[in-house]
Amino acid sequence: MFEAIAFYLFAALTIVMFTITVMTSQALYAITAMAAGMIFISAFFFILGADFLGAIQIIVYTGAVMALYAFGMMFFDTTRDVVEKRTNPQIVFVLGVLAAIMVVAIFVAPVVSNNIQALYPIQENIGNSQAVGMVLFTKYLVPFELAAVMLLVAMIGGIVLAGKKMDKSLTLMNEEDILSMDDGFEPQEGGH
């Protein structure tokens, strides 16, 4: 009973939050609603017994991702909002709903027909974090390391991209402009 109440409560909350995120025209509202939604999502994880995932969700999303967005937003003039042309909103909704139904169908089908075998069954006697850790560092070790590298690359990438001199594009500039840039792209003397 408690579980049901919790589920419906959080479900309603997340749906509302995300709807606000998608629909509002204020960037600030959107980001706030989304941060809230993320936290509510973590509640599901806790209900489902995936404690570790729930923790990660809160830390990564609300801690890191939302912070990044918040910093990112500071770069932009959020007050000058983008004019959103509403072309055929019906199509958008129809497509969204259709896609959702299909996703449900695809997910439900194997579950309903009991076609799924548990590869790594959850052991009852140990905690979730421990179990996750055991699987993660045995079976999923390589993906885990790759994910680590990916994060590193992403971090470096983010730094480099947001760094200086990136406000010029070589592809969008014509040749004279490239040649006349202050540094870095000096033509070789005597080359002509």
Binding site: L95, L98, A99, M102, V103, A105, I106, A109
Partner: protein, 629 residues
């Protein structure tokens, strides 16, 4: 003897090649002399072979393999037997005469050397046709004479009418050749060989329906070459060629190839008397049909051409009724007097500066005595007056018809004999008698070269005395052909018929003289009552058959071809291909708008794709489960 065979066969080819060496150079007398000399050699060899064959032997050689594939084996094999040697004699005699004559006739022509190249090539092809020992070899000659006929009819290629006639002749012959080819296929698949001896030995074992088809298809081939109805129109148009060509090809030799084929294939036709009756009936019809057209025609050469056609009809009657030796005999006799007639007409044409309308001539006997005598005698022979060649051969055909109880055919042929006499002497009368109408047109006729007349004389002699050889000939060919003697049993009937026929023919001749030899004849201007009658118009327009062919075949074919190209090929077949290509191209062109660079719409398309893919996944898995269950 094989040596003589090869000399007889290849001498004309050598002559042709020799002449073609000089075909680009201006006229050189030696070309004509060499070609004629070689033909004379060929004639002498044929004569030697004739004497050899008369001794009861035949010559049969195989030169080399031609086509060998699967079970099919076709050699270049040649046979000189009683039938082919007769044909060889006819061909070499007439062609030698025509060659010598042509030296004079083509004297002023630019294409003198070329003419001899073609003419000798023709003789070679004709010899191959005659001497071959198998159907495929016959077909080589068959097509070869067709080719040479094309080249010679269209010899004056700058004339539109000549080249048109040449093409018409070639194509009409091709239609018939298809029949012939099918006949050959039938023979091969049923007897396993194309050699005459094998085929004729085997043909008796075949089902009669197969033999009938073979006979029909071979005869279709013969119809084309011998210009039988309905493939007859080319022969009259072929008169566009030089006159010696008409004499050699379109009177004496090539057009009789069809008769030769039927005679040669007599073991086949003996088995199928029904086809024989058809051949005879068609022959009788053509005899009358052609003679009727000759009655009103005003073109000297065409009149003689129709007469040829009519005589070919006679030959087919004889061949169809199983009297093969009679057909061959008439073929021989006809070759002599008809070639003579044509050559005489050539003299007249020369004298009249290529004027062909006999109504514009008249009274020429004063200036062209020699020609006058020759043409008159040739016409007498054609009319079948005793004791000229025509009497012996033509009367015999009438007797055959009578003896075989085909009285309708007999009557038709009798009437035709009268018509023949009439139109022949109408021509003679118009040309040589009466007023000198040519003076109105400012023409100064002159007699041909002496040597041309001398060259013609052997034909004159043969036309007069060929009948005397009848029994010798009969003894010769009975070795190979059914030796049926056609005698009317009652002596009285025989005399009544013979004398009656003679009187009838003489009456026709006198009527022709009375009507056309007087001084009142003038150039018809289309106003007289006779010229406006329906029958005259029908005959004058050749029963409208050329016109019908033009309207029913030529024009629709051209139109259909144009439609096939412009409408079907370009607008349907090619357009379909292009439409497929264009469809693909247009799809790309249209869907290019999706790539308008607007990320938002791209995202939408992405979702559409996602939905489609997921739908497919669900649909297939559902379908799979349903089927699987």
């Amino acid at each position: 003897m094989e040596l003589y065979l090869y000399i007889a066969l290849f001498a004309p080819l050598v002559g042709s090649l020799y002449a073609s060496l000089f075909s680009r150079s201006p006229k050189s007398q030696h070309v004509g002399i060499v070609a004629s000399g070689l033909l004379f050699t060929s004639f002498v060899s044929s004569a030697i072979l004739l004497s050899y064959v008369m001794g009861g032997h035949t010559v049969h050689t195989e030169m080399m393999t031609w086509i060998a594939a699967g079970d099919l084996y076709i050699p270049f094999g040649f046979v000189v037997d009683q039938v082919s040697v007769v044909m060889m004699m006819v061909v070499t005699i007439v062609s030698t005469v025509v060659h010598v004559y042509s030296i004079g006739y083509m004297d002023h022509d630019k294409g003198f050397n070329r003419f001899f190249a073609w003419l000798s090539a023709f003789v070679f092809s004709m010899m191959v046709l005659v001497m071959s020992d198998n159907f495929a070899g016959l077909f080589i000659g068959w097509e070869g004479v067709g080719l040479c006929s094309w080249g010679l009819i269209g010899f004056w290629y700058h004339k539109e009418s000549a080249t048109w006639a040449a093409n018409e002749a070639f194509i009409m012959n091709r239609i018939a050749d298809l029949g012939m080819l099918i006949g050959i296929f039938l023979i091969y698949w049923n007897t396993g060989s194309l050699q005459y001896d094998v085929v004729f030995a085997e043909v008796g074992n075949l089902q009669i329906v197969v033999v009938t088809w073979i006979g029909i298809f071979l005869f279709i081939g013969a119809m084309g070459k011998s210009a039988q109805f309905p493939l007859h129109t080319w022969l009259a148009d072929a008169m566009e060629g030089p006159t010696p060509v008409s004499a050699l090809i379109h009177a004496a030799t090539m057009v009789t190839a069809g008769v030769y084929l039927v005679v040669r294939a007599n073991p086949i036709y003996d088995l199928i008397p029904n086809v024989g009756i058809f051949i005879a009936s068609l022959g009788a019809f053509v005899a009358l049909f052609a003679a009727s057209m000759a009655l009103v025609n005003r073109d000297m050469k065409r009149i003689i051409a129709y007469s040829t056609l009519s005589q070919l009809g006679y030959m087919f009657v004889a061949a169809g009724l199983g009297a093969y030796w009679v057909a061959l005999f008439h073929l021989m006799a006809h070759a002599f007097f008809k070639a003579l007639l044509f050559l005489g007409a050539g003299n007249v044409m020369h004298a009249m500066h290529d004027e062909l309308d006999p109504f514009k001539m008249g009274g020429l006997r004063k200036v062209m005595k020699g020609t006058f005598i020759m043409m008159t005698l040739a016409s007498v022979a054609l009319a079948g007056i005793y004791p000229f060649a025509g009497f012996f051969s033509k009367d015999l055909i009438l007797e055959v018809g009578f003896v075989e109880h085909h009285y309708v055919i007999y009557t038709v042929l009798l009437v035709t004999a009268g018509l023949t006499a009439f139109y022949s002497f109408r021509l003679v009368a118009l040309i040589f008698h009466g007023e000198e109408r040519y003076k109105l047109f400012g023409i100064h006729p002159h007699e041909a070269y002496k040597f041309m007349l001398v060259a013609m004389s052997p034909l004159l002699v043969l036309a007069m005395i060929a009948g005397a050889f009848k029994m010798t000939y009969f003894q010769l060919v009975m070795n190979l052909l059914p030796a049926t003697q056609y005698h009317i049993h009652s002596q009285t009937t025989f005399w009544i018929m013979t004398i009656g026929t003679q009187l009838f023919v003489i009456a026709a001749i006198l009527f022709a003289y009375k009507k056309y030899a007087n001084s009142g004849v003038s150039v018809p201007d289309g106003t007289s009552k006779m010229e406006n009658s329906f029958v005259y118009k029908l005959l004058w327009n050749q029963y409208y058959i050329p016109k019908i062919y033009d309207e029913v075949f030529s024009k629709p074919y051209a139109e259909l071809s144009r439609i096939a190209w412009k409408q079907i090929d370009l607008k349907i077949v090619d357009a379909t291909v292009d439409a497929i290509a264009n469809g693909i191209y247009k799809t790309g062109e249209n869907t290019r708008h999706i790539q308008n660079g607007n990320l938002s719409s791209m995202l939408r398309w992405m979702v559409v794709g996602l939905v489609v893919l997921m739908t497919l996944a669900v649909a297939f898995s559902v379908g799979y489960n349903v089927v699987g269950a």
